[in-house]
């Protein structure tokens, strides 16, 4: 496996993948976000769309306007000369009610009490690394090690929108009632996806997220 980052790989006839690293790491993701912002500020000719992920940035382009080689060279140059991060990351407060059906199972598997699970989750330092999987599915890294569990063996149905689910180092606020193999520890009234709102997606990749506990009797909406 290659170790010399950044590097650029072709993706079909109309995209490139710029890799800044090969693991989930806040520093690497910060470089991804910095490259994304640099390209947004001064888009090379033919660039159509960029998609940040944990350690890489997808650049789609119009093959009638530019070719992969020219754009790859420009992306590599920009990735090697990234500006230092400027200003504070935007921080969001997410109210959470810890009444998820998997809370006892998470406690059992981690050897913690339910109160310790809650305290550990609240103590996490969360960063929105990327969106993926489905509209508004923001992957929030930063679940403390003591709480990290592998996914369940199979996906289970029926968890409402706004469920807060964890697996490994990741935490996620669901935006669709889809089956999940992640552990459901609570729910929130905050909607990351507000489809018809002025700001349909609440977070930007690179934002920080802090959870704040609210009373279990808090209304769902």
């Amino acid at each position: 496996m290659s170790t010399g980052f950044p590097l650029v790989r072709p993706v079909g006839a109309a995209a490139l993948l710029v890799e800044l690293g090969d693991r989930i790491d806040a520093g690497i993701n910060a470089q991804v976000i910095a490259l994304d912002r640099t390209l947004a500020a001064a888009a090379p000719a033919g660039l159509v769309e960029t998609v940040p992920s944990y350690a890489s940035l997808l650049m789609t382009f119009d093959p009638l306007v530019t070719d992969g080689a020219a754009l790859a060279a420009e992306a590599l140059h920009l990735a090697r000369t990234l500006p230092a991060p400027q200003g504070q990351a935007c921080e969001h407060i997410v109210p959470i009610c810890y009444d998820g059906p998997d809370l006892p199972a998470v406690a059992g598997r981690t050897g913690l009490t339910i109160d310790q699970v809650i305290a550990a989750h609240l103590a996490g330092d969360y960063r929105c690394y990327m969106y993926g999987f489905a509209p508004g599915y923001a992957y929030l890294g930063g679940v403390p090690e003591a709480l990290q569990l592998p996914r369940k063996g199979s996906a289970e149905r029926g968890h409402p929108v706004g469920s807060i689910i964890v697996a490994g180092a990741q935490c996620l606020i669901t935006t669709l009632p889809m089956p999940t193999g992640w552990w459901v520890i609570g729910r929130t009234s905050l909607r990351v996806l507000d489809p018809l709102g002025e700001r349909p997606f609440r977070f930007d990749p690179g934002d920080r997220i802090r959870f704040e506990r609210v009373d279990p009797v808090a209304p769902d909406n």
Binding site: M1, S2, R9, P10, V11, G12, A13, A14, A15, L17, D22, R23, I24, D36, V48, E49, T50, V51, P52, S53, Y54, A55, S56, L57, L58, T60, P63, L64, D67, G68, A69, M130, Y131, G132, F133, A134, P135, G136, Y137, A138, Y139, T175, L176, M178, P195, L196, P200, F201, P205
Partner: protein, 339 residues
């Protein structure tokens, strides 16, 4: 001038689609839009609609609807799907007129998984992020069509669409799809890459708007230890068991499985239409070769549009000469002398 179309029956994969929504993959939102872009474009072109106008995408199970309000014209394109008005079979790839009270039924045929039903008017539906394309998983956009629903068509145009069959497109199924290796081909043994290049795969029976599976030799990834990376329409994703899935219009924007290759855009439509069990081989191109192919296809399409819009004989003869020149040139990346 308004018509309404009352859905009596609809297969589970029936939805409103337009040209798609761009620029939101960073928020987990793929472009959506038609699975078969060519058949979609043909249906709109047949009625003189705008190129990305909203229409109905139909799959297995077909659709049956009843017209109310104004009469209007419709176009049906895609696969071997056929239209039937009040039980009278009309065939496929056609333009026809639908009167109030008539019942239109679209049925699948021997080949093809996706058909496009356009109307001579503006389909009025929910819009999400500037587009009527339906993202099937969330139902956001124009919407999934279920029995009991009604589609309203505004600004109905009644003149100008001559009923009759459309020129049939080459119906032969695609046999070889052009691909560009990567971005994660390094996760595969040389033998797996060899299989990809030299073995015949078969289109699976399982498909939806997100993707289509392929059967063939297992190409097991050497490792699944990769941070999830962005995925595009056309990506050939390989799961832990080594099975290939072609990502389609409603693809996941991020995937945790390695993508061994990406199918060149212009070959995706025909793969999506392959019947289950149809053979398919992959031909590996460099990205530069794939870009040259896309440019050539775009130039040909542009020339065809120019031909269609020039009734003058002198002009037409000159354009035809240009086409001859292009075929002779044989060099995909050469600049054509477009007047």
């Amino acid at each position: 001038m308004t018509a309404s179309l009352h859905i009596e029956n609809a297969g589970p994969l029936t939805s409103v689609q337009d040209g798609g929504r761009r620029g939101h993959m960073r928020f987990g939102v793929p472009a959506s839009g038609p699975v078969d872009r060519f058949a979609f474009a043909a249906a709109n072109a047949a009625l003189g609609n705008a190129p990305g106008a909203a229409l109905l995408e139909i799959s297995a199970g077909g659709i049956a609807l009843r017209c109310a309000g104004e009469a209007l014209a419709f176009a049906l394109c895609g696969g071997d799907f056929t239209a039937e008005i009040d039980g009278r079979s009309l065939g496929g790839w056609l333009v026809e007129r639908l009167e109030p009270g008539q019942r239109l039924r679209i049925k699948g045929g021997a080949a093809g998984n996706w058909a496009y039903l356009a109307f001579s008017g503006r389909i009025d539906t929910d819009v999400w992020l500037g587009s009527q394309a339906t993202h099937a998983l969330s139902g956001l956009g124009g919407g999934i069509l279920r029995p009991g629903a009604a589609i309203v068509v505004e600004d109905v145009r009644t003149g100008g669409q001559r009923p009759g069959p459309l020129p049939a497109i080459a119906a032969s199924p695609i046999e070889t799809a052009r691909i560009v290796l990567g971005p994660q081909e390094r996760f595969f043994a040389p033998a797996s890459l060899e299989h990809l290049a030299n073995t015949t795969f078969h289109a699976g029976a399982a498909f939806d708007r997100m993707g289509r599976k392929f059967e063939g030799p297992a190409l097991p990834p050497l490792s699944l230890d990769m941070p999830s990376e962005p995925a595009v329409r056309g990506a050939l994703q390989v799961d832990g068991a080594g099975q290939l899935t072609l990502l389609l219009a409603d693809h996941q924007t991020i995937g945790g499985y390695p993508k061994i290759a990406v199918v060149v855009e212009i070959d995706i439509d025909r793969i999506a239409q392959l019947p289950a069990g149809a053979p398919l081989r992959f031909e590996i191109l460099s990205q530069a070769e794939a870009i040259a192919l896309m440019r050539r296809a775009a130039r040909e399409e542009d020339l065809l549009k120019r031909i269609a819009s020039r009734p003058d004989l002198d002009e037409r003869l000159r354009t035809i000469n240009l086409i001859d020149g292009m075929v002779d040139a044989g060099k995909p990346d050469s600049e054509l002398p477009i007047p």
